[in-house]
């Protein structure tokens, strides 16, 4: 399955944020997106996952390159970004179970525990803790869990290493390695450690 961005661009009013440009991400491939602050990395990723409509061009996925509609989106993309928030009143497990259920892929309690352990979060320690009481690093790990728990075809990560300690960065490496077996990954970051996971880097100016 491929992710194909064809002559993709996005403007806000008269201001061009990025593009137009084209690229493709194949199965097992990791594309890095670099660029200075304000170069449009976050906007590009939000456009890819469908949270923003492109000003021109299109994003297609699949072997036949079909457009991604609301029904396919939960299975096509797993997204984590600094401006993503999960439900502060719910626990980590409740958040993962809720999003899996609304996406049509319910998770068992045992599977959620496995996912939390893979993120470096100890389920027993946080089983009754609303995530508002978790540290920013723990919440960042949970965002990565939100992105990967539905086993999407493409993992779209915006600044995945923000607020993470060294073991947390190890979690990113493991998640990206696991995603190679499942599909493609796009990582937007200015951190060389994040970009070192990429096979090639697209630099936005």
């Amino acid at each position: 399955m491929q992710l194909i961005a064809d002559q993709l661009s996005r403007s806000f009013g008269a201001r061009r944020i990025f593009g137009p440009f084209s690229f493709a991400v194949g199965p097992g491939e990791v594309l890095g997106v670099a660029g200075a602050n304000g170069s449009g990395k976050t906007t590009l990723l939000r456009t890819i996952v469908g949270l923003l409509r492109p000003s021109s061009g299109s994003v297609r996925v699949g072997s036949n390159g079909s457009l991604v509609g609301p029904r396919e989106r939960p299975h096509a993309f797993g997204w984590a970004a600094p401006d993503l928030s999960l439900y502060a009143e719910l626990t980590a497990a409740e958040n993962l179970m809720f999003f899996a259920r609304v996406a049509g892929r319910p998770l068992s309690a045992a599977r959620v525990d496995e996912l939390l352990l893979a993120l470096g979060l100890v389920p027993q320690r946080i089983s009754t803790t609303p995530i508002r009481y978790l540290s920013t690093g723990q919440r960042q790990r949970l965002k990565l869990g939100f992105a990967t728990s539905r086993e999407p075809a493409f993992l779209i990560l915006d600044e995945p290493g923000s607020n993470l300690d060294e073991p947390g960065r190890g979690v990113i490496e493991k998640l990206v390695a696991a995603q190679r077996a499942r599909g493609g990954t796009v990582i937007a970051s200015n951190d060389s450690r994040d970009l070192s996971l990429a096979d090639r880097v697209l630099t936005l100016s």
Partner: protein, 229 residues
């Protein structure tokens, strides 16, 4: 690839909203406190004895629905506004089907408004010595009326959620949309207070039911565009 069913997704959204509300009690507290404060003011200013018996059904019906209307205005917008303000709306957009989100939010708002109505109505009837001759007609009117309030408020909340002046815009858009069912509900309550037979309020019930159907259908048809754009 599993397609999420509408009902399963809506139930998940509903349970999530109920669980979040139960843990914070922000909407329920503000709605009940607002309703209680207005009831006390009305009881103090108007009271059961200051009105002539022939004026009571009309004035009491109007006052009761004013309390329910402003309670809806106070708390129901949070359904979508909070999702946008705290940044959870994007996660919801990426994972849930739009119709499931709307249905789940509508169910949560309807339950919330039902809880407030269950709190307000007995207090109001007791404090104002407001006698209802046809209790069944009154109960069905309340059911259809608060469903209309919940349905229109939920959809308007989705429209205003991304605006900067949410509170003002919510009132500006919701008020004209909510006036027709309010007029019908007030007239129906007046009839329930003065007529013993159920058939006397049948036309107004039909009007309320039609309104509920039209608003809810329009909300489902338009919601995808409203929520995603």
């Amino acid at each position: 690839m599993n397609e999420p069913s509408l009902l399963s997704g809506a139930t998940a959204v509903f349970l999530k909203d109920v669980r979040s509300e139960w843990r914070t009690r922000v909407s329920l507290s503000s709605l009940c406190l607002f309703a209680f404060a207005v009831l006390v003011l009305i009881g103090y200013a108007v009271g059961p004895a200051r009105l002539s018996p022939e004026d009571r059904p009309t004035v009491h019906s109007v006052l009761l629905w004013i309390v329910l209307f402003f309670s809806a205005m106070t708390g129901l917008a949070r359904a979508f506004v909070k999702e946008e303000e705290v940044g959870t709306a994007d996660a919801l957009r990426l994972t849930a089907q739009p119709a499931a989100i709307l249905l789940g939010k509508l169910m949560a708002n309807f339950v919330l408004l039902t809880a407030v109505t269950a709190f307000v109505v007995p207090l109001f009837l007791g404090m104002m010595s407001f006698e209802i001759k046809n209790v069944w007609l009154f109960l069905v009117l309340l059911l259809f009326g608060i469903f209309g309030l919940a349905s229109a408020s939920t959809f308007v909340a989705a429209i205003v959620a991304k605006a900067s002046a949410k509170g003002t815009l919510f009132a500006v858009l919701a008020t004209p949309l909510l006036l027709p069912p309010l007029v019908a509900a007030v007239s129906g309550t007046q009839i329930a207070a003065t007529h013993a037979e159920f058939s006397a309020g049948f036309d107004l019930l039909r009007l309320l039911l039609s309104y509920d159907g039209v608003v809810t259908t329009a909300a489902f048809l338009l919601f995808d565009t409203v929520f995603r754009e």
